[in-house]
């Protein structure tokens, strides 16, 4: 009962949130929500102990695929978003054959290489990927009404509700996966892979499964972004964007489900709102870099460790957080 009321208050706060923000902050909120899905899907992959540098390119695969399905085949936008996610997941399965011959650092660099090759393919083949200019004029999500609320998807508030609902549903699915026997096996693959193997777990299959699921949700995030911005191009998915995702996850901490989300929110608000409001145009990367270093030095377990400290004092800590650690 108590949990339900917390849930309802949280939901009401999320619904009310955009109305307390300025127009540009509403726009930032849309991208933030999409990035929350991206970084959470990234965490699923890291559960198995693998750190990829290709996750943002996989997100781009979802965005490109969904854009092309609507543009070339005229598929209804929400359906093509799902197909975009499926495409990203299938590509991940394909990529797992060369990539999962590697581990650790080699996987990190190998995933970077695979991502660069995909980006080079987008650049090289103007048909159908549009070359360096990418694809523009992507169909927006068609407007519709649900009686009490008229969705106009040009408006960031509408798109926030739409994307927010999808992201919450996706987070719930990711959460269920993590708590299921399959998710616990992911943990086992990371921490005791010899033991897991000895007890008959097919390591390769589980790693591939984690990679495919994570990639599918990253692809969904990409599709959500592509149909909102209306354009995709190879530069939007380059290593510099990946670096941001990586830092959200690490600065937030990856031990808990909410750590990467926390990192994403805090760093985005800092970079896009606080530093911009301060009028520090040229110095923005400098301060952002300094904060990254300071947080990794003084909060080695991420922002989540602060939350854990704070909630441990109070006996009513959310039980699921404990379970995740």
């Amino acid at each position: 009962m108590r949990n339900l009321s917390i849930l309802l208050v949280g939901l009401a706060a999320l619904i009310a949130l955009p109305h307390a923000l300025s127009f540009s902050q509403q726009e930032i909120l849309v991208f933030l929500v999409i990035n929350v899905l991206l970084v959470t899907s990234y965490r699923l992959l890291t559960l198995t102990g693998e750190w990829s540098l290709g996750h943002v390119v996989i997100m781009g695969v979802g965005a490109y695929a969904s854009a092309l399905y609507t543009k070339e085949l005229g598929i209804y936008v929400p359906v093509s978003m799902i197909l975009g996610a499926v495409t990203a997941a299938l590509l991940a399965v394909l990529l797992s054959f060369p990539l999962f011959r590697m581990k650790g650092f080699y996987f990190l660099i190998g995933s970077f290489a695979a991502g660069e090759i995909i980006r080079l393919i987008w650049k090289r083949f103007r048909e159908p990927f549009g070359g360096v200019r990418g694809i523009s004029g992507i169909d927006p999500m068609p407007d519709f009404s649900i009686g009490i609320y008229q969705f106009d998807f040009f408006e960031p508030v509408s798109y926030y509700y739409f994307a927010g609902a999808i992201v919450i549903a996706s987070l719930w699915v990711l959460w269920r996966i993590e708590k299921s026997p399959v998710g616990l096996t992911f943990h086992a693959v990371h921490w005791q892979d010899k033991l897991a193997q000895a007890s008959g777990v097919n390591l390769r299959a589980y790693r591939t499964l984690a990679f495919a699921i994570a990639s599918g949700f990253a692809g969904l995030a990409g599709a959500l972004q592509g149909h909102y911005v209306g354009t995709v191009n190879p530069n939007s998915f380059d290593i510099e964007v990946m670096v941001f995702v990586l830092t959200w996850a690490i600065v937030g901490g990856t031990q808990t489900f909410y750590g990467p989300i926390l990192g994403c929110i805090v760093l985005t608000v800092l970079n896009e709102i606080v530093l911009r409001e301060m009028g520090l145009e040229q110095a923005r990367p400098l301060i952002y870099g300094a904060i990254m270093i300071l947080s990794i030095l003084f909060l080695p377990n991420g922002l989540e460790s602060l939350v854990q400290k704070a909630t441990r004092r109070k006996p009513v800590a959310k039980p699921e957080e404990k379970a995740a650690t």
Binding site: S22, F23, S24, Q26, E27, I28, F31, K123, R126, P128, F129, G130, G131, V132, R133, G134, I135, S136, G137, P140, Q150, D152, F154, E155, P156, V157, S158, Q225, V229, G230, T231, N233, N235, S236, E272, R276, E281, Q282, R284, P285
Partner: protein
């Protein structure tokens, strides 16, 4: 939901800002000339990151422009004089951030006009432009399309003006008959390749080799130059290479012993190129961007306000930073100001109507709204463009040459090559 911004008044933050600006203006006597509420202009371009060199110097130029205009009384509208104020937003050359920036500038800062670099960032802003009717400008006419009627390309008509340099070369150095070309493989390089191919074909100059494309991340140009020189061309064309490529390519051409003609779209910081090579080597180098202390720019036909003074002031504040981007955004402001004064209003639709009414006051002389063939809409301002050559270590305007004249004679060649490179407006993804 009804779009709120159509009716919404100024938000609290913009009100405070405006109040602050008004209060500040009381303290400055020269601002008293333009005591009306400031007119805000948005500057939405990359200010940090790898593309910042295409934004930041332009903002610097705009600030000089604003000071000069405000000191002279600001802009005269129907309800009196107003000072002009620039509001910038760093879009980091990212379409999503550009969209956020456009929303902020329009809905929160209440700007009347937004200048952009364009390129990758434009498609992100396009829906905002379509919905708000805000007037936008771009430096890259390849952003134009019939869907968006409120986007204009009033300064740069890249790459169409490159035909003037080739035509001038063919007329003045008729013994040059063979050429090769290299370009970076990106949104600026490819349409420019098509333009140069059309211009060379029209001038009867033979291409000895396919255009050599290189990745924008290239740093070592020795292999590119070796390839260019392999066929012994009389002309080497550097397309629209950025100065980060033009300089090392010229250095390599010099070192590998090239003796022929070079033609390029830009030659920013050519004094440094001369220092890296030699005065003799750079003599006769043909390009398209004059120094603004050139006496030819003092002709009455030129619409850019006091080019010599602007150039001197810019060099004083930002020594060694002068380049094409420095003046282009300011020249768009000249044209916008003229249109707004003609309309008596700074509202986007009124300015747009006044701007498109008759010929436009392009920096290099009055010009026509043009572009239906190539961009699907007549929103590019195209007229004369200078052909510049380096003579005795200094850029000299050789001639102003008409782009529409060339196009009327050779338009079919242009369309043919643009199509081959997939650069026509209806071919873009």
């Amino acid at each position: 939901m009804i779009p709120k911004f159509l009716t919404a008044g100024p938000s609290r933050r913009t009100f405070l800002k405006t109040a602050g600006a008004a209060a500040a203006s009381l303290g400055l006597p020269r601002m008293a000339l333009a005591a009306g509420e400031p007119i805000k202009i948005g500057f939405l371009a990359p200010l940090t990151g790898a593309v910042a060199a295409w934004g930041k110097p332009g903002l610097d130029g705009c600030e000089i422009w604003a000071e000069r205009v405000n000191a002279a009384g600001g802009i005269q509208l129907a309800d009196g004089a107003h000072p002009i104020e620039f509001v910038s937003y760093d879009n980091e050359y990212d379409p999503a951030k550009a969209r956020t920036g456009a929303t902020k500038l329009i809905r929160e800062d209440g700007v009347k006009f937004i200048m952009m670099l364009g390129g990758d960032t434009w498609p992100g802003v396009q829906p905002v432009a379509d919905r708000t009717g805000m007037l936008f400008s771009t430096l890259l006419p390849s952003d134009l399309s019939p869907e968006t009627t409120t986007l204009v390309a009033p300064a740069e008509v890249h790459p169409i003006y490159n035909v003037t340099g080739v035509e001038w070369l063919a007329e003045n150095k008729p013994d040059l008959k063979t050429a090769v070309m290299c370009a970076q493989d990106d949104a600026l390089g490819l349409p420019s390749v098509a333009t140069y191919l059309a211009a060379f074909e029209a001038a009867g100059i033979e291409m000895l080799d396919e255009p050599l494309l290189f990745d924008p991340a290239t740093t070592d140009f020795a292999p590119v130059v070796t390839r260019l020189m392999a066929k012994n061309p009389q002309i080497i064309c550097l397309d629209t290479c950025y100065s980060d490529y033009v300089h090392p390519i010229c250095e390599q051409l010099f070192q590998q012993g090239f003796k022929g003609q070079i033609i390029s779209c830009t030659a920013d910081f050519y004094d440094q190129m001369i220092e890296k090579t030699s005065k003799d080597f750079m003599e006769g180098f043909v390009f398209q961007f004059p120094d603004f202390d050139d006496p030819a720019l003092n002709s009455d036909a030129i619409n850019f306000q006091d080019p010599n003074g602007f150039y001197a002031e810019y060099n004083k504040r930002h020594p060694g930073q002068w380049g094409a981007v420095s003046w282009e955004y300011a020249s768009i402001m000249d044209m916008w100001k003229a249109a707004a004064e003609k309309a008596g209003s700074a509202e986007p639709d009124a300015v747009m109507t006044a701007m498109k009414d008759g010929r436009g006051a392009h920096a290099f002389g009055d010009a026509d709204w043009w572009g239906k063939d190539l961009f699907g809409i007549d929103n590019a301002l195209v007229g004369d463009w200078p052909v510049v050559a380096i003579e005795n270590g200094k850029a000299v305007i050789k001639e102003f040459r008409s782009i529409p004249d060339w196009y009327n004679r050779h338009g079919d060649l242009m369309v043919k090559h643009m199509q081959a490179y997939g650069q026509m407006w209806d071919q873009r993804g």
